[in-house]
Symmetry: C2
Subunit: 304 residues, 2 copies
């Protein structure tokens, strides 16, 4: 498929064209740059990018499904990038497939793309950023990035979002506690899902107090209670998202985040472009693997 064909496919919202365009990015194909350069930047500017993160078991996928349905009922075309911790070799695309199966399979205005975090050619952040652009270019006015919010690179992806919602649920165990603090820092909206389960109120209070300790002003902590399995709380959540969106537009926060996100993508690409030459140098280099690796790196780069 030529880039012109793919670009027409994007304009015509052809699922195959969209899938092909994102694959080109993932394959580091130079044609991807042509496509990304030819996209309508105003569509990218206008789209709202919503990050949904949280630990496994919090109900992110079910909640995402509810959010998709709600935006669809408002007539919006929705793109979903499901960042999938599994490998492309032996399983990938499971989260994405699951969402697809959950009721939007026949809806051409819901475009789901899953991205594996492992076995990648390029940087995850760079690829996800490109996918956001492509989805926006194909007319998606809402783009959801869903990640299991744990790893370092997953946190970087969340920085691509205009608005970030952190989903937690009661009863997820102790490890979750350790994650919360880090995630709360980046969240604009805190969602307590499974709000009908024991411990939900305590969790909500807990989250509010951690968020405040982390330096957030009280009026910036938005806590939403949801029961995604029954669709409860989705309206309130969408209202909260809209409130944050308006506030971010008014204060300039939205623009600031977009600029930071763009530069993060540039950095990610730059590092990816430099990486192969360093790997090649290391492979060709007859070095003794002893002592401080940083000194070896300095020697390698000639910065000794």
């Amino acid at each position: 498929m030529m880039s012109e064909t793919i670009l027409r496919g994007l304009r015509e919202r052809d699922p195959r064209g969209i899938a092909r365009a994102i694959s080109l990015v993932e394959e580091n194909d130079p044609m991807a740059d042509e496509i990304l350069s030819s996209l309508d930047d105003s569509l990218v500017d206008q789209a709202m990018v919503l990050g949904i993160t949280g630990p496994p078991g919090a109900g992110k996928s079910t909640l995402t499904d509810r959010i998709i349905s709600r935006y669809r009922s408002l007539g919006k075309r929705v793109g979903v990038i499901a960042v999938d911790p599994s490998s492309p070799i032996s399983g990938g695309a499971i989260l994405g497939d699951r969402i697809r199966m959950m009721g939007h399979a026949l809806d051409k205005d819901v475009v789901v793309r899953s991205m594996a975090t492992r076995g990648r050619l390029g940087g995850l952040c760079a690829a996800a950023g490109a996918a956001v652009r492509i989805l926006a270019g194909s007319g998606c006015s809402v783009i959801i990035i869903e990640t299991v919010g744990v790893g370092q690179s997953e946190m970087d992806i969340i920085r691509l979002a205009d608005i970030t919602a952190l989903v937690l649920a009661p009863g997820l165990g102790d490890d979750i506690q350790a994650m919360k603090a880090g995630l709360l820092e980046v969240a604009d909206i805190l969602i307590v899902n499974k709000a009908d389960c024991a411990g939900a109120e305590t969790l909500a209070m807990d989250m509010e107090s951690i968020a405040r300790e982390g330096g957030k002003e009280k009026d910036r902590v938005n806590v939403c209670m949801t029961v995604a399995s029954e669709g409860r709380g989705t309206d309130e959540l969408l209202a909260a998202i809209e409130t944050v969106d308006i506030s971010h537009r008014e204060t300039g926060e939205r623009r600031t985040r977009r600029e930071k996100a763009y530069d993060l993508e540039v950095l990610d690409w730059a590092l990816e472009m430099i990486k192969p030459s360093i790997i090649e140098k290391i492979e060709k280099w007859d070095h003794v693997r002893k002592g401080a690796p940083r000194l070896q790196a300095a020697r390698l780069l000639g910065q000794e």
Copy 2:
């Protein structure tokens, strides 16, 4: 504290010296290189580095605690690097602290260091690698790296280990499914913890079949059933670890992994050394944030 004092502290197994040395690495202090260069390489070579990974809620910390106790009863000094997904700003060190509290607090031959994945100056892989060296240099013959096995950088850390054990438990929900495939590829030993719970046998069979599909030969799939809360299965697990260790030494796999791990650290340091100059370039660069970020990166690097 001067590097000579710190080095003496390491030799004398002084907890403050060890803590200071790892902090110097995390702070990118040049003194860290002096210390790392002066360590006894044979201690680093001899230590066994065991990676323990798995999703939140699988019981990794309890199991790690059991493994520590067992190695302690064999007279071994044990180091633990707990990679903590929370942030150092508002909470960090929770996993590490928890392990410390669990019965080894007064034991000077159990050294626990937690490392946050976020808000870092340097690369996580580089820092964890240095911590392994420092712990080995302070006489730890077993070094456990515990991570929540989800993110990309966390997977890289696991590549620092000589032997990797993946801990799963029944009833952790659907998201876990998505992680398993990717994690199984790197695991030498599969642990089904909470083996007294419903679904444990099914999970064990499931894991074996995914591992085999992923290309592992049947005789290389080691599945251990444990109930860490009661200490059940720990002996069998240690036996499995020893079997894998002996096999890796005989086949040369251990040496191969060590060399790869070393080069991975060098790569991580090299990228970290290059990163600030790229960030500075991006910051100083009067660029229009539109179009393909990869082209902007190429322009920035002069590779257009």
